[in-house]
Amino acid sequence: MRDRRVSIALLYPELLGTYGDGGNAVVLAERLRWRDIDADVITLGAGATVPTSCDVYLMGGGEDGPQALAARELSESGALHKAVDNGAVVFGTCAGIQVLGTEFANPDGTPHPGLGLLDVRTVRGTGKRAVGELVSEPLVDGVPTLTGYENHGAVTHLGPGVRPLGRVVHGLGNGGGDASEGAVAGRIVATYMHGPALARNPALADLLLSWVVGSELAPLDDAEVADLRAERLRFIRRRRWRRDR
């Protein structure tokens, strides 16, 4: 048993929480508590001082204006950079992947500097907004098929400093034409599966937690999530089957 509590920082939920992204904090904390590991969720509103000592930092999806505001606050304080240097785990979804990168697009298409924690660059997409179920085969070990929902109008290009989180099976993902989805570098994981991605993908949640705890975690009864995952994957198979005929 660990001798200290795990602290999970939820960054700016009012700016980066458009799609129920706060759920990821609930999922991580509960999966620790169910294993008798104490966990605290620290909600950091805009303007709050971001501590550098948390174990996990979560960034969700946001609209363009709030996203830029969040990027500016984090870049001025430098807190997330220090936390990453200290070995913290970072999980970013949707706007999160964009803010973590080197730059993203303002509403008018001009580039806005990101935090530069991930070697990814996001530009405004030229096609239709990517909206719908997203499925990928993960490129990290021990995690089965990833399932989620995407809703974004941007294209994220991966640089040599990151690898994709997964290869797209259904949906758009990063949208750069290379079928990549998300990005991973060290303990920073980012994805376009927005909202409570960790609720639908408990193995990914446990992978992040194992990095914090430093050992493998005891299995949990995830039968209900398995039912949900099976239902979502069936739904996509039916849709694809209809579309392909």
Partner: protein
């Protein structure tokens, strides 16, 4: 149908209504969509022509449209007949069929309007009054950004100098949307939902609230305007500090907020606030909301909540624990295809009781409830879900299409 209309509009209205009636008779639904399509195909400019000369009140916002429309209609009915789209047919097709069906040109029209359609409706109908209730996250997959609505409302109302806007002073997005209107009646509803307005719609900086509910942008001049009417508990407070009691049959804060907005709307077209409030007392349920249906010996009260702000209110209305409750969730097109918002709803408040999760996306809800540490079961089918709750008096809360399915299935049982 007014006889002063051009022949083309009269023919279009006649054909549209005939098709609408036919569709209703063969059981294809309310008929306003297909009838409206026929009407608009024959006369694309029918909306403005059908409305000409009539006093028009429009009601829009994310939550409370149907109920507020019903309340405002009830308030104006104290004076005489009112034309209204009481079935919630709030798109262009519904508006034109409602107006085409309407009798005497003297009757005012109270129309619920979809948020996305409001700019077009304002331009076409030249309304006397527009009620802006609130704006919050809803149907994330389709709309993307709730602020786009605020932006479009703002532009549309700037171009409507003869319209009085009744606007919720406690919703920064609404205040900004009404900011360029020539006449605004501000209403303090005491809205508690703030998640969608932390960053200023005007400049993008942060908005701050104080304990009394006053809010202001930390950077620009956008701030809570001082209200003309305010809701305080069960009272409406007038600008001169006089208080009038609300006597509603509909439960909860959200309905009291709807009532004070409707009262300000009625006042804008010449009905005294006290008379308007008295008129609303007759409203007992609205399009099935709050209706009680009997199923195999159980009395089930139906509650509708469509998005996180609506659910936050619905959770307050649900009978307290340990009473079990049925919760139905769908994610069809009218609901929004993405149920991620389930994680923005404080379902933790349902702890201490059994929740029966049902609907197309009942499994998503079951997972949400597991993490909320709420005892629950997933049961397919509304009748079986009610049975599984095992009590004779209970609430069933559901989102839009799930609510409709539940109403239909329970009525058949």
């Amino acid at each position: 149908m007014p006889s002063a209309l051009p022949l083309r509009t009269r023919l279009a209205a006649g054909a549209g209504l005939a098709v609408s009636e036919l569709s209703r008779r063969v059981g294809a639904g309310e008929g306003s969509v297909i009838g409206g399509r026929v009407l608009l195909a024959m006369d694309g400019g029918a909306l403005a022509r059908l409305a000409a000369g009539r006093t028009i009140a429009l009601v829009s916002g994310t939550n409370g449209k149907t109920t507020t429309t019903r309340m405002l209609a009830a308030a104006l009915e104290t004076r005489g007949p009112v034309v209204t789209n009481s079935t919630g047919a709030n798109l262009m097709t519904g508006l034109v069929t409602t107006l085409a069906k309407a009798g005497g040109q003297d009757a005012p029209a109270v129309l619920e309007v979809d948020e996305g359609l409001l700019p077009k409706a304002v331009a076409g109908l030249q309304p006397s009054v527009v009620l802006l209730l609130n704006l919050s996250r809803d149907q994330l997959d389709r709309i993307g950004e709730v602020r786009i609505h605020a932006q479009r409302w703002r532009a549309a109302l700037e171009g409507a100098p003869s319209t009085t806007v009744v606007a919720n002073a406690d919703d920064p997005l609404v205040v900004w949307a009404a900011g360029l209107a020539s006449r605004v009646s501000w209403v303090a509803t005491g809205q508690r939902w703030r998640l969608d307005a932390y960053s200023c719609p005007n400049c993008g900086e942060q908005i701050e609230w104080d304990d009394s509910g006053h809010w202001a942008c930390t950077n620009c001049s956008l701030a809570r305007p001082s209200p003309h009417l305010a809701l305080d508990g069960d009272d409406v407070v007038l600008a001169d500090d006089r208080r009038l009691g609300l006597a509603l049959q509909l439960p909860g804060w959200a309905n009291r907020a709807n009532a004070v907005m409707a009262a300000a709307g009625a006042e804008a077209v010449g009905v005294h606030v006290a008379d308007a409030l008295a008129g609303m007392g007759v409203v007992a349920h609205v399009a099935g909301r709050y209706q009680v249906v009997s199923v195999g010996g159980a009395r089930v009260r139906l509650l509708l909540a469509k998005n996180p702000a609506g659910w936050a209110e619905a959770l307050d209305l649900i009978r307290p624990a340990p009473m079990p409750v049925v919760v139905g969730i769908n994610a069809r097109i009218p609901d929004g295809r993405d149920p991620s918002w389930l994680w923005d709803v404080p379902f933790e408040r349902l702890r201490g009781r059994l929740v029966i999760a049902t609907g197309d996306r009942g499994r998503d809800l079951a997972v949400r409830l597991r993490y909320a540490e709420v005892e629950h079961r997933f049961v397919e089918g509304y009748v079986d879900a009610v049975r599984a709750a095992g009590v004779s008096d209970l609430d069933l809360a559901a989102n839009y299409t799930s609510f409709q399915d539940a109403r239909r299935e329970l009525a058949r049982a």
